[in-house]
């Protein structure tokens, strides 16, 4: 009884083919960078791991997960623009997978990079992984093999609210929520790192490589003069027979992983939160056509209904208020059999589109319908007409209702996210359970051209007050570095490198990524109903 979106895409048109070529190139670049971050390591580091009898981090995870089940990796390109590209994936692997039939967050140190040392963005990625576990009530498995904080950058690793201490705070909170954690200790857990297994409900430590201590042998020698080797100071037998710091000893990584799988199989299976469901069906229109729909030039607008038609079950869409506030497309659909409310940008947000969005989100809250935001937003409308109609208070209504929504939210960055539109459409600050970006995506407070104009104007006026008149060359000299830094910082790679999202995805995978994300999110109950004061 639901109508199907009628696609107007001509798959043979020159524009479609040109877009397709450009987007395939974008996806190819993304896949290459992802492959490199996942697998490319210097020979000597891999040899060292082999000598120590250690599996590569990806093999550890593969053996841990149930065979043939999907793994939703998060932030595979974290830190890709920082530290000279050294800390691939921010030296850690995080994702949601199935272990012994239970959805869990897996977080693994990557000892093939600087001994698994934590860079500032590694800490951000670990804290985010624990936030994912807390927000969605998902059990967590830590695969520990880290040298500890990366000392040259300790000021950005250690002291602040969301730095290393937050890892242990989050572990404690997760445990208080009665959500179990397991640590597999495959390397040294020194200093702060020692608290990860110590704060886990269960831990397995491998004989030989595994060790847990507050101070390693060199520190102990320096502090007390005591000479002791790692095994005697904090090895498997000490902790599982004497100290009680760890629960089980294993002779190999494989044994530890199998033991871990058996431990997880004792855990309670979460009951999913009730939502409206029906049998899933694939989209009527081929998701591959997204490549021809997303424009080669980010400035060209495209119809988000064409995108929705390639994400949702049967391409079925019940559009809400189709003739009002038309620059925001709102409506109900099903993704992998779960009913969702979709908000998608089809132009700048005006007063009417903001009000429509706010009203639609209220309907979804009352209807227990998770929200999906498809962002392609250059901002709220500016100018005298919009201001006199109160665009500020209508935008505020949208932000207020969105922020206080009690249903889970999911965001996909489809093309551009500039200015306050990012806020209304559930940007990173607004606690989407998951937020993913397409490779073409750009994000910033404004576009590079506008930023260069604004900042150059400020400088010109300041100098004019001092009686200096600038030539065109001198103005360009001011504009150029601004343009360059903005161009660099608005790219999807810069964003994902800094964990402003949970990862870049191939547009074709959007439906599956949303399906897995929504399923994971339903492990937690919905929030409390109610909202703040709306400026009417």
């Amino acid at each position: 009884v639901m109508r199907r979106i009628r696609s107007h895409v001509d798959v043979r048109s020159p524009a479609f083919l040109a877009n397709r070529e450009k987007n395939l190139e974008r996806v190819r670049e993304f896949r290459e960078r992802q492959e490199e971050a996942r697998f490319s390591r210097p020979r000597r580091d891999l040899d060292r791991l082999a000598r120590q009898g250690k599996l590569f981090v990806r093999e550890r995870i593969e053996k841990l997960l149930d065979p043939g089940t999907p793994f939703l990796e998060l932030s595979s390109l974290a830190a890709c623009t920082e530290y000279d590209g050294e800390a691939k994936g921010a030296s850690s692997v995080v994702g949601i997978g199935i272990v012994s039939g239970r959805e869990v967050v897996v977080r693994a140190d990557d000892p093939s990079i600087k001994g698994g040392a934590w860079y500032p963005l590694t800490v951000k990625k670990i804290v985010r992984a624990l936030d994912v576990a807390i927000e969605n009530r998902l059990p967590m498995i830590h695969v520990c093999d880290s040298a500890g904080g990366f000392l040259p950058l300790q000021a950005d690793v250690f002291p602040d609210r969301y730095l290393a201490g937050r890892i242990f705070r989050n572990q404690s909170i997760l445990s208080k929520m009665r959500v179990p954690q397991l640590s597999l200790v495959f390397g040294r857990c020194t200093a702060g790192g020692a608290y990860i297994p110590s704060l886990s409900d269960y831990s397995v430590i491998q004989r030989g490589n595994g060790a847990i201590f507050l101070g390693g042998p060199p520190l102990v020698k320096a502090a007390t003069g005591e000479v002791v080797d790692a095994e005697a100071l904090g090895g498997a037998d000490l902790h599982t027979r004497v100290s009680g710091v760890a629960d089980y000893a294993a002779n190999s990584e494989e044994e530890a992983i199998l033991l871990g799988r058996e431990i997880v199989s004792q855990w309670e299976k979460p009951r999913k939160t009730w939502v409206e469901r029906r049998d899933a069906e694939p989209p009527y229109y081929d998701p591959e056509e997204l490549y021809g729909i997303v424009p080669a030039d980010v400035k060209v607008q495209f119809d988000m209904r064409e995108v929705i038609a390639r994400i949702v079950d049967g391409s079925l869409f019940h559009e809400y208020q189709p003739d009002y506030g038309t620059t925001l497309v709102c409506g109900f659909a099903w993704i992998w059999g779960v009913r969702v409310g979709i908000l998608a940008n089809d132009g700048v947000l005006f007063n009417d589109s903001s009000l429509k969005g706010a009203h639609f989100m209220e309907l979804c809250n009352h209807n227990r319908t998770p929200l999906v935001f498809l962002q392609n937003i250059t901002g709220y409308m500016v100018g005298r007409e919009a201001e006199s109609k109160g665009i500020c208070k209508d935008g505020a209504k949208m932000i207020m209702i969105q922020s206080t929504s009690d249903v889970p939210k999911f965001t996909i960055m489809c093309n551009r996210s500039f200015g306050a539109g990012n806020y209304g459409m559930c940007g990173r600050a607004f606690d989407s359970r998951f937020l993913f970006s397409w490779p073409n995506h750009q994000i910033g407070v404004m576009g590079p051209e506008q930023a260069a104009d604004v900042l150059a104007d400020v400088k010109i006026q300041q100098l004019e007050r001092e009686g200096v008149k600038l030539s065109k060359e001198e103005v360009d000299k001011i504009r150029l570095p601004i343009l360059e830094s903005y161009e660099r910082e608005i790219s999807a790679y810069y964003a994902t490198s800094h964990l402003w999202d949970d990862g870049i995805i191939d547009p074709v995978d959007t439906r599956n990524v949303l399906g897995l994300s929504i399923h994971a999110a339903l492990s937690a109950p919905f929030g409390e109903p109610g909202t703040g004061v709306l400026r009417l």
């Binding site: 109508r3 009628r6 119809d303 132009g347 250059t378």
Partner: protein, 172 residues
Amino acid sequence: MKGYPLRLDGTTADVVPVHRPGGFDLEIDGRRIAARLEPLGDGEWRLSADGRSRVVWIAQRGNRAFVQLDGRVFEIEIVNALEELIREAQRAGGDALLAPMPGTVIRVATEVGRTVAEGEALIVIESMKLQTSIFAPHEGRVAEIPFGEGQSFDKGAVLVRLEPVAAEETPS
């Protein structure tokens, strides 16, 4: 119409399924027949109706079902009544395509008097640094294009006016 409209070979029938133990009655345009459908797996079904029983293969894509019976394939369209009504109303009336935001005309892709199909691009506009194509929401004849290339317009201005195409001209 009180049931589900199904279309076969250009003819629309009104079908009401009435469930009863062990199967269902089908009321087709007022005539009632007892039917039963048992799954045999892989799209194969045993269909019993009107006292006869045979094996059929059924595949569905969107709102179309393909039924193979006695070596012949029947294509049945599950008609969406709401969609039909909206399309009829659109065919009957012309309408105006309004500017979603203030901006400038970049390109006019059609001309007055031309008959356009649903989904055809008519005009490209730019505003707030975004280029947007305006498409025909349904078929029609272009009656008016008030703004030419390079001209600017306000939000809500008519960009293209469509009028209905006389029935005999409708391209099929």
